[in-house]
Symmetry: C2
Subunit: 120 residues, 2 copies
DNA sequence: CCTCTATATATCGAGCCTCTATATATTAGC
DNA sequence: GCTAATATATAGAGGCTCGATATATAGAGG
């Protein structure tokens, strides 16, 4: 079945938080598979503690991304290890990430055009 | 009386939309007084139609900014003109705008640090 | 062996914010 | 006088994040 309709790929001012959270996660996954807990830790470290995913935020986002077919999670069961769900980027997810990144830059340009030039 | 406690001056991933909306408005006001309707039109034009304030979004934000003492609105009643409320930036608002702008750039740096370098 | 902490995932309710829709009033054009 | 554009205001609905809570396992220490 086709993935449920994606949230609009455009980066709007109304959904910046969601866009950023999704980009952070997808972008991190683009460097290789991660499980949820690991994503939160890595993103927090890379941002010097600025971007901290609460658990109640992270997992619902992951579930939604998976429902949309942008990421895929597989349960990893190794001995002497807690069960973990390893997520990796799908091809659709990779494409979506590129669109979102482009949309993000476009947003920044427009925003700067309205804001920055007033400084003088 | 002191203004009600401001939303944290830091630009967090959780309140990007609000931060951006506030920066757009305060920044536009920093170039001179505007009334609400005029703000919406000017911001929409400067952004090539990307940032459109719905009325139900704009006015509550203006009211909140005024309650917080960041802007001040005065009713202008001229003959042969509808009554309008002219908003201008207060000193506190100007300082807040600078903090928010700095916070916004800091946020962008951190975000880029997590996201951008994965491209290669 | 048992407890505590860290790892790991999951979900619910509350709160905040924006959007849509609706309401009111005035001015200008037809 | 009627309609459209100007101008402000607010209530209700929906989406998203957060804080709290729950469950379960592995490793460390007593």
């Amino acid at each position: 079945m086709p993935p449920p309709s994606l949230p609009s790929p455009a980066v709007d001012i109304q959904n910046l938080s969601r866009s950023c959270n999704r980009i952070l996660i997808l972008s991190t996954l683009s460097s290789g598979p991660h499980h949820g807990y690991q994503l939160a830790i890595e993103i927090e470290e890379k941002s010097d503690g600025a971007f901290r995913f609460q658990h109640g935020t992270l997992y619902p986002i992951l579930h939604k991304l998976e429902r949309e077919g942008l990421i895929r999670g597989d349960w990893m069961v190794e001995r002497s290890r807690r069960r973990r769900k390893s997520y990796r980027l799908t091809e659709a997810g990779d494409q979506y990430l590129q669109e979102q990144t482009a949309g993000w830059h476009e947003f920044l340009d427009r925003f700067a055009h309205v804001v920055e030039r007033r400084k003088s």
